[in-house]
């Protein structure tokens, strides 16, 4: 009984992709039970602003020399994972608490999906929102195939 309940909780809630200037290039949600109550534009600005502040805070207050910087935060209900590429692209994913480290997942999304279907797509202009259907469908399939994704999250 308990095992089934645990699996039902495992899920990915949503994903944001920002460019180095703070523009939200892509957003999608899979299992979001509650909205933020503000417009999408405000939500993206809020997310980006928060990340900017928290990264700066984390590096200032670090009692040791920093390596990767801010990686994730958690609440009693969800965990937010953060991955920044050397080129300034920021990937933000909210999952449930069973996922402790999504860095590899986000790295995979960057190198195998973003680079393949956006950077290598002659029609996609870097800096524009990601309109390629090929990219969204591959990303969707990838998320749904994750070992920690369950479509019926509690």
């Amino acid at each position: 009984m308990r095992i089934i309940q645990q699996e039902e909780k495992m899920t990915v809630h949503n994903l944001y992709i920002f460019d180095r200037n703070g523009n939200c290039l892509y957003y999608n949600e899979w299992n979001r039970k509650k909205q933020a109550g503000i417009s999408k534009e405000e939500e993206y600005k809020l997310m980006y602003g928060m990340l900017f502040s928290i990264r700066s805070f984390v590096s200032k207050m670090s009692p040791l020399d920093m390596k990767d910087g801010f990686l994730s935060f958690q609440t009693s209900k969800y965990r937010l994972h953060y991955y920044e590429t050397p080129t300034g692209l920021k990937f933000v994913m909210n999952t449930d608490l069973s996922v402790s480290n999504a860095r590899e997942t986000l790295q995979h999304i960057y190198s195998n999906l973003y680079v393949e279907y956006i950077v290598k797509n002659p029609v996609c202009v870097l800096g524009n929102t990601l309109d390629s259907e090929l990219f969204s469908s591959r990303l969707d399939a990838f998320i749904r195939a994750l070992p920690y994704y369950s479509p019926r999250a509690a």
Partner: protein
């Protein structure tokens, strides 16, 4: 062969550059401008195809007939350039050939259906020229065109010109 991404990125930039050059100054591109871009790209591909075929056939025996040449294009040439073979070759045995590639290398990152379909021809012009150039150096004068209906599958039509 070097990393294929090098050629793919260069090709993307070549196409973008040719279209930007043609458009500079004017606001909209009309059909005449588009035709000029396509023929510039096709001309570049022609010269590349001519050079490539010299390199690829230097160790091969000479070809028996036209069909043999087309099979070489579908197998050896396509493999060397696009890392796969043509999936389907059809002919009317009177000089017209249709080469079908179901996963054409320069279209796979664009879309897997109908999105961006109207932009696809821009990325086929160079390759048409390559095929025409390759055939021309083997001794076949031809007209090569391409059509796409569902990406990344596309068909190249070769019509051999009789003297």
């Amino acid at each position: 062969m070097a990393d294929e991404a090098l050629f793919e990125f260069l090709h993307m930039e070549i196409v973008s550059h040719v279209y930007k050059e043609q458009q500079s100054g004017k606001g909209e591109m009309d059909n005449k401008d588009r035709a000029v871009c396509v023929s510039v790209l096709e001309g570049m591909g022609f010269r590349v195809g001519q050079g490539l075929i010299e390199r690829l056939t230097r160790d091969s025996p000479s070809f028996k007939d036209e069909l043999d040449i087309m099979k070489f294009i579908c197998k050896d040439f396509w493999t060397k350039v696009f890392r796969r073979q043509i999936d389907n070759l059809r002919t009317n045995h009177q000089g017209t050939y249709v080469l079908q590639d179901n996963k054409f290398a320069l279209l796979t990152q664009l879309s897997s259906g109908k999105q961006y379909l109207e932009q696809a021809p821009k990325y086929l012009a160079f390759s048409c020229g390559m095929v025409r150039g390759a055939l021309s150096n083997i001794g076949l004068d031809s007209v090569v065109t391409a059509e796409v209906s569902v990406m990344p599958s596309c068909k190249f039509q070769v019509v051999v010109q009789k003297l």
